[in-house]
C-alpha cells in the first residue's frame, strides 16, 4: 500500500464553504448512480439544499473501461437555496481512466481529484485512449490529486465477508462513498440503514458494502490523508418535512394525486421509452391506489387506450418522449375533436430521430404546439424543476378536466432524472378538481346534446357509458355544433374550428398572471421555460450579486400564454430567451407578440450552466 504515501496532506482545517459540487464518475458497472444517490440522501437528511444531475452513458452498456461506458452523478450541496447541480464539480471521484478522461474537463480550476489508482494500469489506460499514465505524466498538476488504491483497500476490507470473485470489487463504490462521507462530514446512519434494507437478505453483500463504506470513511479519518475537509452547513430551508424527488417520481405522484383530487380512477397507457419509462415503472407499483397501467404494443395504442379510458370516465393519461409523441399525434388530434380530457406527458430528449436518447433538450416545443394536421390548438403546460412536477401535473389535469381537452405536459430528461429536496405538501389541502359527469339530457326537446357547451369554459358535457338516456356517438369527422352529429356544412366547420380555438384561448382567464421576479426597473428580462429554471435563476443571481438588475419570468403556461405576458414583455427594452433548442419559444414569442427578443440557444444534450447564463446576460447588459 505504498501508493497512499503519494497523497500529500495539504491543510489540517475543515474548509467552511457555502456550496460544493461533487461528481462521482466511473464505469456503468461501478455503481456511481447508487453512490451519488446515497450521498444525496445523506446530505438531504443532514439538511443541505441540493440538486443533482445524473448523466447516463449511451444506451447500451459499453465494454468496461471505455469512454462510452462512463456513468456519472453530480450533486451540489449547499447551506442556502440552490438551483442546479453546479456548473463544474469542485470534487471529482474517478474510478478508472475512462471516467477521468471523460470528466476532467469539467472539474473546477484547482479542483480536487480523487482517483482509484488501482484502475490506472495499462489495459485500462489503453481502453480510455491514454498514451501515458496521467497520474504520473504531470498532466494533472493543476489539480489537487489524491490517489487511492480503492480496489486493494476494498478487497482488504471485505476479506472476511465470504464475498468472492467479482463480488469483492462490487463494494468499491461504497468505499468511495465512505471517503466522501468523511470528507464532507455526512451522517452515516442513512447510508447504513439503506444498505441494511436493500441487502438485508444477502449477508455477504450487506456486510461487504457496510465494511467498504466504513473503510473508506476510516481511511479519511485515520490516515489524515485529506487534511482539509469541507464543511457545508445545513441550509435554512423553510420548516417542514422534506424528501428528495426526481422529476419522473414527482410527476407520477402528481398523477396519483390529481386522480384523487379529481375523484377519478387513473389510467396510464404507455410504451417504454427513455427518459419517460420511469413514470410507467413508478405508477405500476401503485395498484393499491387503483392505478391502471397499460403497457401498450406501441405509442399509438398507448394513447388510443388512454382516449378510450377517458371516454368512459377515467383520467386518461399517456406519457412518452419525442419519437413516441410524433407517433401519437394523429390520435391526439382525434381526442382534440372528441373534446375529451386527456393528459399527454412529453419528457423531451435530444433529437431529431433517435438522436441522443439519454440527454436532455427542449426541442419539442414547436412540435407540441403545431405538430398536428388541421387547426388543432391544445394547451401546453411546462414543468420547471423535479419537485415542481407534482403541482404542475395536477394543474395540467385540472385544465384537461375543466375544459374537456387534451393537455400537453412538458418535461425533459434533466427534470426527469435529476433530484431536488421537496417540501412535502399536505395532501388534504390539494385543490378539488373534480368534475361532474352529465346525468341529464340538456336539449330543449329532451334530447342529449353532447356538444352543447358551458358558456364560460366552452367545455362540452362528459357523459359516460352507463348513463341511461345519454347514449350518443362521437367521432373524428367534423361535428355539428351542439348535436355533435357529422356535419359537412361549410359554416359549421368554421364555427367549430373557432370554438375549439376560443376554448383553448379562454384558458388564459383561468391561469394566474405573470409575476415578474423583482427588478422591475431592469433593462433586461430573461424569459425561460422548463428545466432551464435552475441555471437561469442562478445565473441571474450571479448577475445580481454584481449589483446589476435583471428581471426574470419563467413560464409554466405556454399555450395559452398568461394574459399579461404581452404587457410584461413590452416593459423591458431587452428580452433574452435561453433555451436548449434553436429558439423555439423565441419563435412563438415573435409570432405572438412581434417582440424582437434575443435567442440564446444551446443544443448539446446538457443543461445550461449558470455561468453561461451569467456571461450571456452580462454581454446583453453591456451591449
Amino acid at each position: 500500500m505504498s501508493e497512499t504515501s503519494t497523497i500529500e496532506p495539504t491543510d489540517a482545517e475543515a474548509q467552511n464553504v457555502s456550496a460544493v459540487a461533487i461528481r462521482f464518475a466511473g464505469d456503468s458497472g461501478d455503481g456511481m448512480q447508487v453512490a451519488g444517490t446515497r450521498f444525496t440522501e445523506a446530505s438531504a437528511i443532514f439538511g443541505n439544499d441540493l440538486a443533482t444531475f445524473p448523466n447516463f452513458p449511451a444506451e447500451i452498456r459499453a465494454p468496461a473501461g471505455t469512454l462510452p461506458g462512463v456513468s456519472s452523478f453530480q450533486v451540489q450541496i449547499a447551506d442556502r437555496d440552490i438551483l442546479t447541480a453546479g456548473d463544474n464539480p469542485d470534487v471529482l471521484v474517478a474510478m478508472n481512466p475512462a471516467a477521468l478522461k471523460a470528466n476532467l474537463a469539467d472539474l473546477a480550476p484547482a479542483g480536487t481529484l480523487i482517483v482509484n489508482s488501482d484502475a490506472f494500469e495499462e489495459r485500462n489506460l489503453a481502453k480510455a485512449g491514454y498514451d501515458a499514465n496521467p497520474l504520473t505524466d504531470g498532466s494533472l498538476d493543476a489539480y489537487r490529486l489524491l490517489e487511492v488504491p480503492m480496489e486493494a483497500l476494498t478487497k482488504e476490507a471485505v476479506k472476511d465477508t465470504g464475498l468472492k470473485g467479482r463480488g469483492v470489487l462490487r463494494s468499491k463504490n461504497f468505499f468511495a462513498l465512505g471517503l466522501m462521507a468523511w470528507m464532507f462530514d455526512r451522517p452515516h446512519e442513512p447510508t447504513l440503514k439503506w444498505i441494511d434494507e436493500k441487502f438485508g437478505n444477502d449477508e455477504a453483500v450487506r456486510s461487504g458494502n457496510e465494511l467498504a463504506f466504513k473503510a473508506g470513511y476510516n481511511l479519511g479519518e485515520t490516515t489524515e490523508m485529506f487534511r482539509n475537509t469541507f464543511e457545508v452547513k445545513p441550509a435554512t430551508l423553510p420548516p417542514g418535512t422534506y424528501t428528495t424527488v426526481t422529476g419522473n417520481q414527482a410527476l407520477a405522484w402528481g398523477l396519483v394525486a390529481a386522480a384523487q383530487a379529481a375523484k377519478l380512477p387513473l389510467f396510464y397507457g404507455s410504451y417504454p421509452i427513455t427518459p419517460a419509462s420511469d413514470i410507467l415503472h413508478e405508477l405500476a407499483k401503485h395498484r393499491n391506489f387503483g392505478v391502471r397501467t397499460f403497457q401498450a404494443e406501441d405509442e399509438i395504442a398507448a394513447v388510443g387506450a388512454a382516449v378510450g379510458a377517458s371516454f368512459v370516465g377515467h383520467l386518461g393519461v399517456t406519457g412518452t418522449s419525442g419519437p413516441g409523441l410524433a407517433l401519437k399525434s394523429e390520435t391526439i388530434s382525434l381526442a382534440l375533436i372528441l373534446e375529451l380530457p386527456l393528459l399527454i406527458v412529453n419528457v423531451q430528449r435530444g433529437g431529431p430521430s433517435t438522436g441522443l436518447p439519454t440527454k436532455t433538450e427542449q426541442s419539442d416545443l414547436l412540435m407540441v404546439m403545431y405538430g398536428r394536421h388541421g387547426e388543432s390548438p391544445l394547451p401546453i403546460v411546462s414543468i420547471s424543476t423535479p419537485a415542481d412536477a407534482f403541482e404542475t401535473t395536477i394543474e395540467a389535469v385540472r385544465i384537461a378536466l375543466k375544459y374537456m381537452t387534451p393537455v400537453i405536459l412538458m418535461s425533459d430528461g434533466y427534470i426527469a432524472t435529476s433530484a431536488e429536496p421537496w417540501l412535502l405538501p399536505d395532501v388534504s389541502q390539494l385543490p378539488d378538481i373534480s368534475v361532474s359527469f352529465a346525468t341529464e339530457t340538456n336539449g330543449e326537446d329532451g334530447e342529449f346534446l353532447p356538444y352543447l357547451r358551458d358558456p364560460d369554459t366552452l367545455a362540452r358535457p362528459w357523459a359516460i357509458p352507463g348513463t341511461a338516456g345519454l347514449e350518443h356517438r362521437v367521432g373524428g369527422l367534423e361535428k355539428e355544433d351542439k348535436t355533435g352529429d357529422v356535419s359537412y356544412n361549410p359554416l359549421n366547420h368554421e364555427k367549430m374550428t373557432i370554438l375549439r380555438e376560443e376554448k383553448i384561448a379562454g384558458i388564459a382567464n383561468d391561469i394566474p398572471e405573470i409575476e415578474v421576479d423583482p427588478d422591475a426597473d431592469a433593462d433586461l428580462l430573461v424569459l425561460g421555460w422548463g428545466s432551464s429554471y435552475g441555471p437561469i435563476t442562478s445565473g441571474i443571481r450571479r448577475v445580481r450579486a454584481r449589483g446589476l438588475k435583471v428581471a426574470q419570468v419563467h413560464l409554466r403556461y405556454i399555450n395559452p400564454f398568461p394574459r399579461n405576458l404581452d404587457e410584461v414583455l413590452r416593459r423591458y427594452p431587452k428580452v433574452l430567451i435561453p433555451e436548449l433548442n434553436r429558439g423555439q419559444l423565441w419563435r412563438l414569442i415573435r409570432s405572438e407578440f412581434l417582440v424582437d427578443a434575443t435567442s440564446y440557444s444551446k443544443v448539446q444534450g446538457q443543461p445550461f450552466k449558470s455561468i453561461e447564463i451569467e456571461t450571456k446576460i452580462m454581454e446583453m447588459l453591456e451591449s
Binding site: P234, N288, E330, P465, V486
Partner: protein, 338 residues
Amino acid sequence: MTDTAARYTRQDYQTDQEVRWCPGCGDYTILASVQNFMAGLDVDKEKVVFVSGIGCAARFPYYMNTYGMHSIHGRAPAIASGIAVARPELSVWVVTGDGDSLSIGGNHLIHAMRRNVNIKILLFNNQIYGLTKGQYSPTSEVGKRTKSSPTGSIDHPFNPISLALGAEASFVARTIDMDRDHTQEMLQRAYDHDGSALIEIYQNCNVFNDKAFIQLTGREERELNRIKIEHGRPVVFGPDDEYGVVIDDGAARIVEVSAVGIDAIHVHNAQASTPAAAFALSRLSHGPYGPTPVGVFREKPRLMYEDGLQQQIHDSQADRGPGDLQALIGSTGTWTVE
C-alpha cells in the same frame, strides 16, 4: 332472437341518423342482425359501447343507439382495449373493415387477441377498400385488378382466421352477411365468451367488389361450399352432408364421406387444448372461392386481461390497504427542517 320477452326492440337500437351506405350494401344486413341480436340481449343499452375505425363499415356506431365512437383508421381495438380495461362492466364492440383491421390496424388486432381483453371485434371483410373507392385490401386475391393495382395485385392475402389463431385468439368465428341467423348465433357466442372475440363477416360490397362471396351466397353454389363447423360435430357439408373433412398428419382436406366412412371424419373441437386443429380447418380455404368453413373455429376461455388487472388491484389493496397519498410521497425517506 326475436324473443317477445326481450327488454328492447330492434327500434330501440336504431338512431335518428340516416344510414348512408350504398343501396344494396351488405352492411345493411349486418346492421339489422346486430340490432336484432342486441335487442334480445339482457344487457342495459347504456352499458353497450361500439367503437370503430374508418371505412364504410366503420360508420356502424352512428346507427347504433348506444354509446359509440367512430375513431381513426385502424385504432379501434386499442381504444376499445382502454375502454374495456377501464370499465370491465361495459359490453364493448369493435366494428372494423378488412383494411382497417388487417392493413393499418393489424398490430392492434393481434395484440388485442393475445391480451384477451374482453372486446368483440366484428371484421366486415369485403376484400376491398370501400370508403376510399376501391383499392385492393390485405384480403384481396392475388391478381385482383383495382384502382391501385391496374395490372393485378401481387400481394398474397391474409387468412384472417389463421392470423387470429396464430395471434393466440381465444375466440374466432366466421359468418356471412346474408345469413342473418348464423350471424346472430355467432354474435351470441362471441358475447358469451369471456375474452376477446373475432368474428370475420363476409360482407358484400356491391359497388367495388360485387359478388365476391357468390360461392357462399349464391343459391346454387352455397350448399356445396358452406362448411358449417360446430363444436362436437363431425365436419360434414353438402346438400346431403356427402362431403366431409379429415385431418391427416396435421392438415385438413375434403373427402367424400362415403369414401372414408363417417368415423374418419374430423369431429370439430373448438375448445381443444391447442388451436392446431382449428388452424388446420382455417386452411381449407384461402378466401371464399370454394368450400369454406363458417362457424366458431375456436372458443377457449382463458384469463381476461382486465380480470388479471382487477385481481392485482384487489390483491394490492388487500395487502397494502387502499393508497395513502401522504404516505406515498414520503415513501422514499424524509427529513424534517424545524
